[in-house]
């Protein structure tokens, strides 16, 4: 087994996903213990712009696996390419972002290779020749420390926002190696009919540094507009607890919590969210929590760094105004 650390670069619209770039930082921290090169693995078709964007972020080598059949992500196509490359090059570890694509791909490839797989990692370390990961378990009621044992490569699926974005001006100029890709169209059994992009004026939850989230206290779908407005002012994303989803006020993909997404932004602003354990399961890993609630006894205040007892319908619009004013003075 080699000592190289691979980062699987997921990309869309000619740009690498934020989490994939974060994993280059994770790889850098592992490499101090492990040695070896940091290799960015970029599969796809027409990926020159992606390669250019990855190039300045600290990878030592970029493996480009280019093929027309890799134009859109399919499990069969991408699993074949990644598994073949890992088999041929035998890295110590492959880092994959915990996204819809990463969670679809990584277990399939691990099963094919007999590679140890650990998912939803919050931290990764290299101790005594083994990978040690921490990850939330039991709907975040516990943190598990997991060791990867045995020989051969392992795959770690890492949560977004756990590692910083690497600087875009690394002096390293990675060597780009183009890997030959052999793919048979017949081997790709599924076909992507379309990807309907859900139009949002605000950024996606897992890419957000700041998340503004509404709960039952929002009282109705129309009131989410004030959260949207604050989100635009802050460059934030908008999410929700489960009740607004169950009431049909917001789409299912807004939901943060045990039955929805797990997020860990720099700031989580909880508006009218009581703070049930099911919701805390999805957001208690946030760096800072700010809670606004009318009820001074809301459990959310027990975990908030800043708790504001008050009327969110008055506070939020004024806060948006104040944020815009503060930004204009910079």
């Amino acid at each position: 087994m080699g000592a190289d650390i691979w980062v699987y670069i997921e990309h869309a619209e000619a740009a690498p996903k934020k989490v994939s770039l974060e994993l280059l930082s994770c790889a850098r921290s592992l490499s101090t213990e492990l040695g070896g090169n940091i290799v960015a693995f970029v599969p796809g078709s027409k990926i020159d712009q992606v390669i250019a964007a990855v190039g300045s972020r600290g990878a030592d080598i970029i493996y480009a696996a280019e093929h027309p059949l890799l134009d859109t992500y399919t499990t069969d196509g991408y699993a074949a390419v990644l598994a073949d490359a890992v088999r041929a090059e035998s890295p110590a570890i492959v880092l994959v972002g915990s996204t819809a694509q990463g969670r679809d791909l990584a277990p399939r490839v691990a099963a094919r290779l007999g590679a140890g797989i650990v998912t939803d990692c919050a931290t990764l370390a290299w101790r005594d020749g083994k990978v040690l990961a921490t990850r939330p378990m039991y709907t975040r009621k516990a943190i598990g420390t997991v060791r990867v044992t045995g020989g051969g490569p392992c795959i770690a699926v890492v949560l977004p926002a756990m590692y910083p974005l690497p600087d875009a001006d690394s002096p390293r100029r990675p060597e780009v190696r183009r890997r030959p890709v052999h793919l048979d169209g017949k081997a790709i059994r599924t076909s992507v009919r379309e990807v309907k992009s859900v139009h949002r004026e605000t950024i996606p939850l897992i890419e957000a540094n700041v998340i503004i989230s509404g709960g039952r206290g929002m009282k109705g779908p129309e009131n989410f507009a004030i959260l949207d407005d604050l989100a635009r002012a802050l460059g934030a994303a908008v999410g929700s607890s489960r009740p607004p989803v169950d009431s049909g006020w917001v789409p299912h993909d807004y939901e943060i919590g045990q039955t929805g997404k797990t997020v860990s932004p720099q700031v989580y602003l909880a508006c009218g969210i009581s703070g049930a354990p099911q919701h805390l399961a999805g957001m208690s890993g946030s760096k800072y929590i700010v809670a606004i609630n009318k009820d001074p006894n809301a459990p959310m205040f027990q975990v908030a760094d800043l708790g504001v007892v008050g009327d969110l319908f008055e506070i939020i619009p004024k806060l948006a105004e104040a944020v815009r004013k503060a930004k204009s003075q910079h």
Partner: protein
Amino acid sequence: MNIIVCVKQVPDTEAPIRITPDGSGIDETGVTLVMNYYDEHATEAGLRLREQFGGTVTLVSVGPERAKEALRTGLAMGADDAVLVSDPALNGADHLGVARVLAAVIKTLPHDAVICGKLSTDDNATTVGAALAEYLGLPQATAVAHLEVDAAGTGAVVHREVEGGVEVLAVPFPALLTVERSLNEPRYPSLPGIMKAKRKEIKTLTLENLGLAAAEVGAAAARTALVRLSPPPARKAGRMVEGDTEQAVAAILAFLVDEAKVL
């Protein structure tokens, strides 16, 4: 249509958990164990396919003897049969080991669709479904939020939630699907269903019955091991602000600028 649904028994997510003093796992004393709720959605998806196409829904689980209770939940919902693989040699098996065992069972059963929950709420691994698809050599569609099987039952068009959108994916059967909570609303077991499920014999298999060796799928083959379980870092309640709107806005703004440094 022959439908297989994979089921796991897990602690009820509504209840708190107690970590054992040595951190080796959770103390199961007094813990209510239930069917993983994503698997309820998987079972519901299977039952709806049976209603549409006829056929059978067979539940398969890997776990200790008590996991039969989770299978009975699925039988009470309306599944036809249930199989449990229970073997002490599976203590310490990892997700790939469990997927191999499930594959060995499912290979002995006719299957047009194999349906799993998207994840299990105990170890949150999201691993067994796709690994099982690999061992069965089936195409997969994970985290399915909408499922439409064509009239002939030869394949499906599914919606998968991806970041920033919805992927519409065509997948031919036989296939493995893992399902999201938003796919359906699981039915409650009916009283006759519950009575029937109580009487139903659940087939129990050992590794030997499946022709598997502990060295292939048990702890010795595991590539991951839980070192310890710890409570999550406690969050302390911070500062509280009670005042008028202006004071509240000023406090939040100062927090965003000075402490969180996002402005």
